[in-house]
Amino acid sequence: MLLNYIGAFLLIVFGLYIILVKKNLIKIVVGMSLLDTGINLLLVSVGFRPGGTAPLFMNDLKPGSFFVDPVPQALTLTSIVIGACVTALALSLVIKVKEHYGTIDADKVRRLNG
């Protein structure tokens, strides 16, 4: 379990690092996606209970067995959907940026400043 949290933390930090440091707009989008993934991993890990089964309502449940928390899983799904949308929208904007500016270098895409 600890591994999950460490993994989530590292993913978030790497994602943030990429957004902060990389000047390529595509890489920034990758960083955002990585950040999202980290949060999703954390979200799933939060709901996990050791020894729990998948939260499926079946007839063949053994007595004494229990579910992992289903709510974070639902939330993760929502969050994944949103992350996918962010990535798609951001990538399409990058395409348009390339059309207008001829470059995807963050240092050059700065006509709106000051």
Partner: protein, 167 residues
């Protein structure tokens, strides 16, 4: 195979500019022919069994929409564009969303439990069978439809904008 030939003619010009995407490679085409039906059936399965097993409308929808991407890789943008009509896809997406809202508002219409949105009003059936869980099954269906058309349209738009970029 007709489309195959047609796009083959135009391929040299595209090939020059983009070496990375090699259109109409025989290996890719035949692999895609095998994978495509599987992807679609798997997607359909995931949508239908959303209330019984992990998965659901969104995942199934994405799986099916992935087929569009496979189609693009295999047959190029011409093949994809011939097969799908973007405006129809968009309209279908709205239909999916409207269907979802309609199913959700069945609770309002029937007035079960004090006019509740999202109330599960249809007979729930026996747990574990395909037609169980009342409205959830249908909602999964609506979501799946919306997602497959939506993401399909998205991929299509991206593909066409990539192409227009090169020309």
């Amino acid at each position: 195979m007709k489309s195959n030939k047609k796009s083959y003619k135009s391929s040299p010009s595209t090939n020059k500019k983009s070496k990375n995407i090699k259109v109409n490679d025989v290996i890719i085409t035949s692999c895609a022919n095998v994978v495509l039906p599987i992807a679609i059936i798997l997607g359909a399965y995931v949508i239908m069994h959303g209330h019984l097993s992990p998965g659901g409308g969104f995942q199934g929808g994405v799986l099916i929409a992935g087929a569009v991407a496979i189609l693009y890789v295999a047959y190029g943008s011409d093949g994809v564009r011939k097969l799908f009509n973007i405006t129809r896809l968009k309209a279908s997406e709205s239909m999916g969303a409207l269907g979802f809202i309609f199913i959700a508002s069945l609770g309002l219409i029937y007035g079960v439990g004090g006019y509740r949105f999202f109330a599960n009003t249809i007979s729930k059936g026996t747990p574990g069978t395909l037609f169980s869980s009342g409205t959830i099954f249908w909602m999964n269906f609506a979501v799946g439809y919306k997602v497959l058309t939506g993401i399909g349209a998205l991929i299509l738009i991206m593909v066409s904008s990539l192409n227009s970029n090169k020309e």
